[in-house]
């Protein structure tokens, strides 16, 4: 067996620094939540994304891998964002429309509003 040389691999110093930064970022997220900082949700999720990048790059050694590895996981992450975005667009844009004149309740016998107000 041949031990692999340190060059080209993540060093012990990088592992330790990554861990320390991850702990600090986790604590920062907790402080943001406890202090009820305005805009806390995007801040905490942004910090989470930064922590994920650090884990991916150094603990999972993505920084050592070929471009194709980074491309594969980046596309998957992009798909997740698209999926979440499309899911959110629906409830955010589901505004109750004013009923058309011909279908207004009481205008025609037996017709009610076509677009009742959603329960939320």
């Amino acid at each position: 067996m041949k031990p692999q040389p340190e060059s080209g691999h993540v060093t012990l110093r990088t592992y330790v620094w990554t861990y320390v930064i991850l702990l600090l970022l986790a604590t920062l997220s907790w402080i943001v939540a406890v202090l009820h900082v305005p805009g806390g949700a995007p801040i905490a999720i942004g910090i989470g994304a930064l922590k994920a990048l650090l884990v991916l790059a150094y603990f999972m050694h993505l920084s050592e891998e070929a471009f194709s590895f980074r491309l594969a996981i980046s596309i998957a992450a992009l798909m997740v964002l698209v999926f979440i975005g499309l899911s959110v667009i629906d409830p955010l844009t589901r505004t109750p429309y004013a009923p058309a004149p011909s279908t207004r309740a009481g205008t025609l016998p037996g017709t009610g509003p076509v677009h009742p107000k959603p329960p939320y």
Partner: protein
């Protein structure tokens, strides 16, 4: 300590030109598997985002009622276990198999601690009535939004806990085979792949923690 199994020399399969190419393919296959796992969790995150857009204030109330201390403790457990697992890969690369085994066992212990804390947290929720779907009877928050929140909470954290349990099993499997010489310093793609799975479990918690416990 079991004797090293010399028969476990890496086998070069016929479709590969070299062991390096074979290892690269194994690792790339693992990354593709993790990408598909990410898409599984994306369903949970998309549902959360859609329902939060619908029940914003009720979600925030439910979130503030959640057990932040348990979730935060588990955050530190998983971060530390990710660190020890990363160090175990370095130890294997340096042929320090005993050290690698100790680090993998420490990571598994942290994973078990995560599950114990999670079980304690679930016990609190069961006592409070913060249960999924029709079983929800949390008297402090009798809202549809809180019901949706805890339904998603149980599904997402339950799926994640199953992944953690699977990861602990994988780590124990690694620890068992480490002293046998199966993972060589210059060829250990299966060891690296197993550790990648553990890191993935950690990365998912990096997003579950803020959206279900913090903000």
């Amino acid at each position: 300590m079991r004797e090293p199994i010399l028969a476990d020399e890496p086998v070069l399969h016929e479709q590969y030109a070299s062991l390096e190419r074979q290892a690269l393919t194994l690792r790339f296959g693992m990354w593709l598997f993790l990408a598909s796992e990410l898409l599984l969790f994306s369903g949970f995150f998309a549902l959360y985002a859609a329902y939060r857009a619908m029940y914003g204030a009720e979600f925030v109330e439910a979130l503030r009622h959640n057990t932040m201390i348990h979730g935060t403790l588990n955050m530190y457990m998983l971060l530390t276990s990710s660190f020890t697992v990363a160090l175990s890969v370095r130890a294997v690369r340096h042929e320090a198999l005993r050290r690698a085994q100790a680090l993998v066992l420490a990571s598994a212990a942290l994973g078990v601690t995560f599950l114990v804390i999670k079980a304690l947290e679930y016990a609190v929720h069961i006592e409070d009535g913060a249960l999924p779907g029709p079983y929800f009877h949390l008297s402090e928050l009798p809202t549809l939004g809180a019901n949706r929140f805890y339904t998603l909470y149980w599904i997402t954290t339950g799926a994640h806990a199953l992944h953690v349990a699977g990861g602990v099993g994988v780590l124990l499997w690694l620890a068992w085979f480490l002293p046998t010489g199966r993972y060589r310093a210059d060829y250990h793609p299966k060891f690296e792949n197993a550790t990648l799975y553990w890191h993935f479990v950690d990365v998912m918690w990096l997003f579950i923690w803020p959206i279900y416990y913090l903000v």
